[in-house]
């Protein structure tokens, strides 16, 4: 199995995209997951539904609306243009933003479940031991909900690696910028380069299998935080 330079670029880009998205989603998703886990607001239902939308929508729908929003006439597009950044579609950062929306439930739900299963008690105990809110989050919640965070990171990463429809809508197929592995495979098939498509596809299967194996092995070892998303 050998990869061409374009294939290697696609693999590297995919890893870069998935890492960036996972990192950003952990930062953005944690407060949302925290809020969803702890609130009794009447907005909980609607927000949870919005977060879960990518689970059921065709990726093309998300891609389509993001394309319009980030395009030259869209609200986001006008904003980025006014900052002198140009428009986001067909750029790496456009892909990052689209992937964040698309992979959001896979990161938020495991964290939310982990925080919900902690309950109030550890937080109350921490407060009676003089730990302030941030102290409590980093020294009590994070370690206790660690399995949930690890699950979230693995799923967020794997799911971003595996996306195709959103990439095609937002990113197109620009080598080194938006041409990720899944799109590259499509490209090879279109060009009847089945050998190279095989190599990349086999790599994806291997990767996904190892990720899931690691995930289930990890969940068996640590506390089981049920995956509600899959």
């Amino acid at each position: 199995m050998s990869f061409s330079q374009a294939d290697m670029a696609a693999i590297w880009l995919t890893i870069k995209l998935a890492s960036t998205v996972t990192l950003l989603l952990l930062i953005i998703g944690t407060p949302i997951a925290w809020w969803l886990a702890r609130t009794s607001s009447r907005w909980k239902g609607p927000i949870a539904a919005v977060v879960a939308l990518p689970l059921v929508l065709p990726p093309t729908v998300i891609g389509f609306y993001l394309l319009i929003a980030m395009g030259p006439n869209g609200a986001v597009g006008q904003f980025t243009q006014s900052l002198g950044l140009g428009t986001l579609p067909f750029t790496f950062w456009g892909l990052v933003i689209a992937s964040i929306f698309y992979s959001m439930p896979f990161v938020i739900q495991p964290i939310q479940n982990a925080i919900e299963s902690l309950g109030d008690r550890p937080l109350e105990v921490a407060a009676t031991l003089r730990a302030g809110p941030w102290d409590t989050f980093f020294n009590v919640v994070l370690p206790l909900a660690k399995p949930g965070f690890i699950t979230a990171a693995i799923l967020g990463f794997a799911h971003t690696v595996g996306e195709f429809g959103v990439v095609l809508m937002i990113g197109g197929n620009i080598p080194g910028e938006t041409q990720v592995v899944s799109v590259q495979i499509y490209e090879h098939v279109e060009a009847m380069e089945y050998g190279q498509a095989h190599a990349l596809s086999a790599l994806m299967i291997l990767f996904s299998f190892i990720v899931l194996l690691a995930l289930y092995g990890f969940q068996r070892k640590g506390k089981v935080h049920a995956l509600s998303v899959k």
Binding site: E124, V125, A127, T128, R130, A131, P133, P143, L144
Partner: protein, 360 residues
């Protein structure tokens, strides 16, 4: 002195409505028990004092410092409290020692090695320190939790039924440690319990709650010997008397204790001569006679004067309170016996006590 006044109303579709409306004064020394049946609001009251209940109206002043009033509420993590929860609440990801360190790092003042050693030895957890919570027994976990609450160097220790989740054997294992707490550490303890035994054994003061309201509060022996409250204790109605061990009868494994009202014989539990003990005399174990029956099998007979009598309507039971020396004894009789004896307030009679239990 801790002055607390709270008004809380919970409306919930799941549970029935509950309201707490209390005003209490708690002395800043010794153990104050908050006693009540389940649902009386005692845990809620303790949580209000800790600041763990949201949106509660109230005033709270602890040794002159305002913790809460109409437009101010000190956050829980800024209150100098120690809190022991009903079930073990150790952090699972930390060993027993790390759990203690968690508290020490956040304590207002550094904990001296002496103080640390003393707390560890009073609670007997030296050999458990390296273990994780899931490797400890329920009793050990609770002892570590108590040590952790002490290491945060609180100005007041709040304990929410710390024994309720333990079986009888574990309770017996922990009770001596709790007794040693207030002998060894000079901080006020608020102790929530629904167990009369624990209250009788540990408390100096008691606040009795019923349906979210204060039914009685005051010194332990005084609250227990007040007739109008005592029916609340049901089968546990009875008095607690502080007495001193006078002598021992090795042959029959008995010891004699004395108080202002006389002397009592009870089984010898290895107490030392002249040690102060608490004895509990239940009203159902006391019968009354107009003369001293020396030919009776009942060894403990005390002379007293009828202080007051309560007989509820439509109930066959009457409670009679006798003044014996400076203390009181309550007897539970039927209304019929009461009428037969013709007992009236101020009359002299003899209390025959079938059993006396030592609680301390």
């Amino acid at each position: 002195m801790i002055k607390a006044c709270f008004k809380v109303a919970y409306r919930s579709s799941v549970k029935s409505d509950f309201s707490l409306d209390v005003k209490i004064d708690i002395p800043s020394k010794g153990v104050t028990a908050i006693f009540g049946h389940s649902g009386s609001g005692k845990t809620t009251l303790l949580r209000c004092i800790a600041g763990l209940e949201d949106s509660v109206h109230g005033h709270l002043e602890v040794s002159g410092q305002v913790w809460q009033n109409d437009n101010y509420c000190l956050k829980t993590y800024k209150r100098p409290i120690g809190y022991v929860f009903q079930e073990a609440s150790l952090f699972d990801h930390l060993s027993a020692h790390e759990n203690l360190l968690f508290a020490m790092k956040r304590a207002e003042h550094t904990v001296s090695q002496d103080n640390f050693d003393r707390i560890i030895s009073v609670l007997g957890i030296k050999s458990q320190l390296t273990r994780y919570p899931n490797e400890l027994s329920g009793g050990e976990r609770q002892r570590v939790a108590i040590a952790r609450a002490l290491l945060v160097q609180p100005k007041i220790l709040l304990m929410d039924e710390p024994l309720a989740s333990l079986d009888t054997a574990r309770k017996r294992e922990i009770l001596p440690y709790l007794e040693r707490l207030h002998e060894n550490f000079d901080i006020p303890i608020l102790y929530v319990s629904h167990s009369l035994d624990e209250v009788a054994r540990l408390a100096d003061h008691v606040v009795v709650l019923e349906a979210g309201k204060v039914k009685a509060q005051g010194e332990l022996t005084q609250v227990f010997s007040t007739l109008e409250y005592s029916s609340y204790f049901e089968q546990g109605t009875g008095v607690i008397i502080k007495a001193a061990v006078l002598e021992k009868d090795r042959q029959w494994h008995l010891m004699k204790v004395g108080f202002t009202g006389g002397e009592l014989w009870l089984s010898d539990n290895d107490e030392k001569i002249s040690e102060e003990v608490r004895v509990r005399i239940l009203a159902k174990d006391v019968s009354l006679a107009l003369s001293n029956h020396e030919d009776s099998s009942i060894a403990n007979r005390l002379a007293g004067k009828v202080e007051d009598i309560i007989q509820e309507e439509n109930s066959p039971i009457a409670l009679v309170r006798l003044k014996v020396g400076d203390e009181f004894i309550i007897a539970r009789l039927t209304g019929k016996s009461l009428a037969n004896l013709g007992l009236k307030e101020g009359m002299r009679c003899w209390a025959q006590i079938k059993s006396v239990a030592i609680v301390h």
